[in-house]
C-alpha cells in the first residue's frame, strides 16, 4: 500500500527529537513527526501557589497543551479551547504514572507543551516531547513514555496518520506506551470498528511507540553523554 506521502502502511513519518532546546527551562525537548512539531518545556519541581493546592506527600503535575495560532492552515484563536483542555488532561494522566511525584512533596512540576506546527498527531508529538523534557530536567521517573497513533484505511492498518489520512481512516487511535512495563497509559479512539480490528490498530500503534522510544533515548544521550561517559 502506498500512502499519499509515499510511506508504507507500518512506517512512521520521519521523526526528529532534540533535548534541551529552551535554555531557561529545567528540561525541554522538540519533537518533529513529519510536519507536526511539538516543543515541551518543564519547570520544576518548584513552588506551588496557592498553598492550599500543595499536596503533603507528592508533587502536583500540571500539563498545559497549546496550539500556537499560526500552527494550522486556518489560524487558531490563542487561548485554551475545549479540545486543548481535554488533551491537557489525558496527557497529564499519561505521564503521571511514571513520574516519581512522591520525591517532590508540596511542589509543582509544570509541563508546557506548544504545538508550533500541526499536521495530525499533535497530542502524540506533545507526549513524546513532554516525556523527554521531564527526563531532561533530571526529574526522577520510572520510565519514559512514547506515543503514536494508528488507524485503518481500507484493509490496511496504518501507522502515524498524517494530513488527509485523518479523514480517510476508519478510526484514529492515539496510544501512549510505557516500554519498561509493556503497558498503555493513554488510549482514545474516534471511529467505528469491530474489537479484533481495534486490537490490531493498537498493536500497530505500539510498534510505532517502540521506535519512537529509541529516538527519545538517543536524543537524551546526544545531549548529556559526553566523552568520558560511554554511551
Amino acid at each position: 500500500m502506498k500512502r499519499a506521502d509515499g510511506r508504507s502502511a507500518g512506517e512512521l513519518r520521519p521523526v526528529t527529537i532534540k533535548a534541551g532546546v529552551i535554555p531557561n527551562a529545567n528540561g525541554s525537548a522538540m519533537v518533529a513527526m513529519g510536519k507536526t512539531i511539538a516543543v515541551a518545556a518543564v519547570y520544576g519541581p518548584r513552588y506551588l501557589h496557592p498553598r492550599f493546592k500543595q499536596k503533603y506527600d507528592k508533587a502536583l503535575l500540571k500539563t498545559i497543551y497549546m496550539m500556537v495560532p499560526f500552527s494550522t492552515n486556518e489560524r487558531v484563536r490563542p487561548g485554551p479551547s475545549r479540545r486543548s483542555q481535554e488533551i491537557c488532561k489525558v496527557t497529564r494522566e499519561a505521564l503521571e504514572n511514571v513520574v516519581c511525584l512522591e520525591e517532590y512533596p508540596k511542589s509543582v512540576i509544570d509541563v508546557y507543551i506548544n504545538i508550533i506546527q500541526a499536521n495530525a498527531g499533535t497530542r502524540t508529538a506533545g507526549i513524546n516531547a513532554a516525556s523527554v523534557a521531564l527526563a531532561d530536567a533530571g526529574i526522577s521517573m520510572k520510565d519514559l513514555v512514547a506515543s503514536a497513533a494508528a488507524g485503518k484505511i481500507g484493509d490496511d492498518y496504518v501507522l502515524d496518520l498524517a494530513g488527509k489520512e485523518e479523514e480517510e481512516t476508519d478510526c484514529d487511535v492515539p496510544v501512549a506506551y510505557i516500554p519498561g512495563q509493556d503497558k498503555i497509559s493513554l488510549l482514545q479512539m474516534d471511529g467505528k470498528l469491530p474489537p479484533e480490528d481495534v486490537e490490531k490498530v493498537i498493536e500497530m500503534a505500539i510498534k510505532g511507540c517502540k521506535e519512537i522510544y529509541e529516538k527519545q533515548k538517543e536524543a537524551l544521550r546526544e545531549r548529556w553523554a559526553q566523552k568520558g561517559a560511554s554511551a
Binding site: 533530571g138 520510565d143 519514559l144 559526553q226 561517559a229
Partner: protein, 259 residues
C-alpha cells in the same frame, strides 16, 4: 554474579535496566523492578561493591543537612529571616542560628541581615520539604558584599569543587579570586581575574565528565591569568616583595568573621 547490562560510567536514561539480578542492591537514583535494577534519572552509572547508583547529570538542588549554600534574604520575620535558595521552598534562618546575641527589643533584625543581602550559610536542619533551617554557625558563614553572582546546574557542583576541594582551590589560587560555591549551584566571586574564573567554571559545568579536565583547566588558567602585580619594598638594603591580592578568603579558617 550476573552480567551487567550497563557498566561503570555508562550513560542511562530513566527506566533503563542496569542489571537483571538479585545479586545487586539499588543505591541512589535507582529502583528495583522485579529482578532488575533500573535508573530513575538521566545520569552515569557508578558501582561500589554491589551497590548500583546513578550520578545525576541534571536536576534541581536537593538540600542536605550540613550543605553550605548561598541564598538571598527575601523577607524578615519577628524571629528570623526567609532566604531564597533557588528551589521550590525558601529556607529559614532563625535567630538561634546566628552567633551573635541579638536583643530584639533594641535591635532591628534588618540591621543584621537586610532584604537583598546575600549570605553563605549552612543547612542545619530539615524537618520536611518546606522546612529548611539555616545556621551561620560555621566559620565559613558570612554575608557577602560586592562581587558578582552566577548560578550553575546544582548537579555539577561536586565536579566544580573536586575531590576534597582540589578543583575549586586550584581555580581560586591561580586566579587569585575569592569564590564561594553553594551546593545549591549559586556561586559568588570577587577578585581580579573574575572573567577567567568564570570561563573555568563554565567549562566544568558544560563538560564535567571529560578526561583530563583538571589538567585542561590548569593549563587554561596558567595561560590566561595576568601575573600578579608585585611591589618591591627596599628596607635596609634588602628588597622584599609583597603581592597585592583581593580581600579576605572566605574559606581561610583564620579570617575574622564580620557581618
Amino acid at each position: 554474579m550476573a552480567e551487567l547490562l550497563k557498566n561503570e560510567k555508562d550513560f542511562v536514561v530513566p527506566g533503563e535496566k542496569i542489571v537483571e539480578s538479585m545479586d545487586y542492591i539499588p543505591g541512589r537514583n535507582c529502583f528495583r523492578d522485579g529482578n532488575a535494577i533500573k535508573s530513575k534519572k538521566i545520569g552515569v552509572v557508578t558501582i561500589t561493591n554491589r551497590v548500583i547508583s546513578i550520578i545525576p547529570l541534571n536536576g534541581t538542588y536537593a538540600p542536605k543537612v550540613g550543605d553550605m549554600i548561598l541564598g538571598e534574604v527575601i523577607d524578615i520575620q519577628s524571629n528570623g529571616w526567609i532566604v531564597n535558595i533557588g528551589i521550590a521552598h525558601s529556607a529559614y534562618l532563625p535567630l538561634s542560628g546566628i552567633r551573635e546575641f541579638i536583643d530584639t527589643t533594641r535591635t532591628q533584625l534588618s540591621s543584621v541581615y537586610n532584604i537583598g543581602d546575600l549570605i553563605y550559610s549552612k543547612i542545619s536542619n530539615l524537618n520536611g520539604p518546606d522546612s529548611i533551617h539555616l545556621s551561620m554557625d560555621d566559620v565559613r558563614c558570612r554575608k557577602l558584599r560586592g562581587g558578582r553572582v552566577l548560578d550553575i546546574n546544582a548537579a555539577k557542583v561536586p565536579r566544580l569543587i573536586g575531590r576534597e576541594g582540589s578543583m575549586i582551590r586550584m581555580i581560586k589560587d591561580k586566579t587569585r579570586c575569592n569564590i564561594c560555591v553553594g551546593q545549591n549551584g549559586i556561586i559568588w566571586m570577587d577578585g581580579e581575574n573574575q572573567d577567567v574564573a568564570l570561563e573555568a567554571i563554565h567549562e566544568i559545568e558544560g563538560r564535567p565528565q571529560q578526561e583530563g579536565l583538571t589538567d585542561k583547566i590548569s593549563a587554561m588558567l596558567d595561560s590566561r591569568v595576568k601575573p600578579a602585580q608585585v611591589q618591591t619594598n627596599v628596607t635596609n638594603g634588602i628588597a622584599s616583595k609583597s603581592v597585592a591580592s583581593g580581600s579576605f578568603d572566605p574559606d581561610s579558617v583564620d579570617s575574622e568573621v564580620g557581618s
